[in-house]
């Protein structure tokens, strides 16, 4: 096992008679930007929802490791034990398919954004980032029991949380809008705020669902910079769903292509680009016809 962070094995998700994802297996390595691409309806967001606990997969195992790679040796033992997670002095192992969504975010530290932005639009930008730090702040306020009487170190913790929020606002260029309602921000800024909010939960894995959707080329380039900066500075691995090939090809280390819920390709971006199966899926034709269609459109 090299330096795997997330291992998805035989993931199948059925909705009634519809098989949205079928026996999907892939690995996302620590520190990598892994892109999940595919035509519309390929099942990318379903995979995301399974990883982040919003869906319970019909079949399959989704495991995530913190710390040392040696924890992977315990994977089968953990699976047999019927437990959700296992901690060792050198790390921890989580079975995400067994955890409810809020525990995936809180314990396994997987953060996500949404395809259709889900900000708290009636709350200010700063409040959005403080809600993201709910769990540490809740602990600091003695689960409200101390905070309500002004006891404990809640004031200190809140100031630290605001400092952290300020840091992320500066990084995403939103500092001037900190006290404005999130719903008032322009579209591109809302996308960036959602990433900042996800980062405020201190994730080890950041799942971005089409972060470049609706952005203009300049904003899209800025987003690339932001994602690369996040990975470089905060040692966060990124799992990315994207349609914008300029984003995928430029920043990802590893690409997985889905079509009709089945993995059709898995590898480095350069290899994916030339894979006839991938081109066929995107063009919507059979594999054998790719050459013909490419000639027709002048590729």
């Amino acid at each position: 096992m090299s330096d795997a962070l997330l291992r998805v094995e035989h993931l199948t998700m059925r909705f009634g008679g519809l098989v949205a994802v079928s026996a999907l297996s892939f690995t996302a390595n620590r520190g990598d930007i892994t892109a999940l691409i595919g035509p519309n309806g390929a099942g990318k967001t379903t995979v995301f929802n399974c990883i982040t606990g919003f869906y319970k997969p019909t079949e399959g195992r989704i495991a995530l490791a913190h710390g040392s790679a040696a924890v992977w040796n315990d994977l089968d033992a953990l699976t047999m034990r019927n437990a959700r997670h296992l901690s060792r002095p050198d790390g921890a192992l989580f079975l995400l398919e067994r955890m409810p969504d809020h525990l995936v975010a809180r314990r396994a530290r997987v953060a996500r954004t949404f395809q259709n932005i889900r900000l708290f639009s009636g709350m200010t930008v700063l409040e959005n980032l403080l809600v993201a730090q709910h769990n540490p702040l809740m602990r600091a306020s003695g689960f409200t029991a101390l905070g309500i009487f002004g006891l404990g170190h809640y004031g200190h913790a809140e100031r630290a949380a605001i400092e952290k929020a300020r840091h992320w606002l500066a990084l995403t260029g939103l500092l001037a809008r900190a006290d404005d309602p999130a719903g008032d921000l322009p579209y591109g800024a809302q996308r960036r705020l959602e990433i900042a909010r996800a980062m405020c939960t201190d994730p080890v894995l950041l799942c971005l669902d089409e972060p470049a959707a609706g952005l203009n080329p300049r904003e899209s380039a800025e987003l690339n910079e932001l994602i690369l900066a996040i990975r470089a500075e905060y040692k966060v691995s990124v799992l990315l769903i994207e349609h914008d090939m300029s984003v995928v090809m430029r920043i990802s280390d590893h690409v997985i292509v889905l079509d009709y819920g089945v993995k059709i390709a898995d590898g480095a971006p350069s290899a994916i680009r030339d894979d006839p199966k991938v081109i066929a899926a995107y063009l919507g034709v059979e594999d054998e016809e790719v050459g013909k269609v490419e000639a027709e459109v002048g590729l």
């Binding site: 009636g122 200010t124 809600v131 709910h134 409200t144 719903g183």
Partner: protein, 462 residues
């Protein structure tokens, strides 16, 4: 229909206005014919006879037509003229400075007024007359202010539409009544206990409804309120059913009872006996409780739990993606809101000395919810103003004996309470669709605290 020229606003379309007025009159006639035109009365032999009231019906129809005519001829042209004018006045905001000063002085001024209010009433109305003013206006309004604050946590902050809030009010009231009669514990011992019991019931209600959203949540909470009332009616050995519980012990002033006896409050303090002392004491208790509720709510909003409630109202899925346990967050909202309802309930029982299931009907839930919605969901000041308007308005209707001279002796202004409520509700929802105070104040700020316009704030209900 001819065009209404903007350049010549004096050109008012009379024919159109007359037509509109005739249509309105026709609708009014159709509506009021069964409501007002016919009147069933019992004659001397106890038989029902149908009477007709044509003049009254005509008066209503003519009033409607005149109103519509006025609307078409005066109000609409005025509104069009106003809409046509450029809106520079709104942009410049020259009145911002005095406005802010007013906002800053409002809270201390209001607090000062409610504190001196009983003294003011005593001074203006005398020993005998003040009871009515302190009890009917002061205490009654403050009970609803407190209930409004409590429900505001559930509906306004957490965005969970609760139509059965009165159940917790009932739990508080019956807890105090039964425990004080059975164990002889004092009011101040039982007040927190009643709150805790109500909060406990809040959690019990919370569990089954957590999975529900929107309308389904509203229906289940409505049913819960009704179940609670039916239990109170039918569990006769404990609650004494319809007859209710009488002789509930009244709160004492640090052990000194408010009665005419030798160790009563008046004698001990060398005063002439009067029921006003107890009333004033009760007034300050409920005032303290209401202020406590407001204070706790303000503090909770600045704590992570309060922010999580508001985030839950805005977007539950996003909350879960950030690691917030929405189940426990909803439960805390339900139980804290219910706890405040329980406080108010135990105070209500102590003030009345008598409670029966009739005090805890759906109408009460609806009134409290109306206060929260009218005030502006989430706004404490709005809720307080709405409670004063709704409850004070009802009480004020009783005072309008002058109307008897206009409409005749059989006229009872309180009978028109619901009609007035309805009108007020429609009016406010037309003029201010998101309540009296719709802006949301941010709980934390980096540079400057800005108000958030109500249209961005979601209403939740799930």
């Amino acid at each position: 229909m001819s065009s209404r020229g903007v350049e010549a606003p004096a050109n008012i379309d009379v024919a159109h206005a007359l037509k509109e007025s005739a249509v309105a009159g026709l609708i009014a006639f159709g509506l009021f014919l069964p409501l007002i035109g016919f009147h069933a009365v019992q004659d001397i032999r106890n038989e029902l006879v149908l009477e007709t009231r044509w003049p009254l019906l005509a008066a209503f129809v003519i009033l409607t037509m005149a109103g519509r005519l006025f609307g078409c001829l005066v109000v609409t042209p005025w509104r069009e003229r106003r809409a046509a004018r450029p809106r520079e006045a709104a942009k410049a905001r020259p009145g911002a400075a005095p406005e802010r000063l007013f906002a800053r002085l409002l809270a201390p001024a209001a607090a000062g007024f409610v504190i001196v209010y009983p003294v003011l009433a005593l001074w203006l109305a005398g020993l005998g007359g003040a009871v009515k003013w302190v009890d009917n206006f002061g205490i009654q309004i403050l009970i609803y202010v407190m209930l409004g604050f409590g429900l505001n946590i559930v509906v306004g902050l957490a965005g969970l539409l609760d139509l059965g809030y009165v159940a917790f009010y009932a739990v508080g009231a019956y807890s105090y009544a039964l425990l004080s009669q059975t164990f002889g514990l004092s009011f101040f011992m039982l007040l927190p206990l009643a709150g805790i019991l109500a909060a406990f019931w809040g959690i019990i209600l919370g569990f089954p409804v957590l999975r529900l959203r929107g309308d389904y949540l509203a229906i289940v909470t409505l049913a819960f309120g009704e179940i609670m009332r039916l239990v109170l009616i039918n569990w006769v050995p404990v609650t004494n059913g319809y007859a209710g519980i009488t002789g509930i012990p009244r709160p004492t002033f640090f052990g000194i009872p408010f009665n005419a006896s030798d160790d009563g409050f008046a004698t001990v303090f060398g005063l002439e006996f009067s029921p006003i002392y107890r009333t004033i004491f009760l007034y300050y208790i409920i005032l303290a409780l209401a202020l406590l509720t407001a204070f706790v709510t303000i503090r909770l909003r600045r704590l992570p739990v309060g922010r999580a409630w508001e985030a839950l109202r805005e977007d539950e899925i996003a909350c879960r993606s950030l690691g917030i346990n929405t189940t426990s967050t909803k439960l805390t909202a339900f139980s804290i809101g219910a706890g405040f309802g329980g406080f108010a309930g135990s105070f209500f029982a102590a003030r009345q000395g008598f409670i029966s299931p009739e005090s805890f009907t759906f109408m009460e839930s609806a009134t409290i919810l109306a206060i929260v919605v009218l005030g502006g969901m989430g706004s404490q000041l709005g809720v307080a103003i709405a409670a004063i308007a709704m409850i004070g308005g009802t009480e004020a209707l009783r005072e309008l004996d002058v109307l008897k001279q206009v409409f005749g002796n059989g006229f009872d202004p309180t009978q028109y309470r619901m009609l007035v409520f309805g009108f007020a509700m429609v009016l406010i929802m037309v003029v201010r669709p998101r309540g009296l105070i719709s802006t949301r104040q941010a709980s934390v700020h980096l540079v400057e605290r800005k108000a958030i316009v109500g249209t961005l704030v979601k209403e939740g209900h799930g």
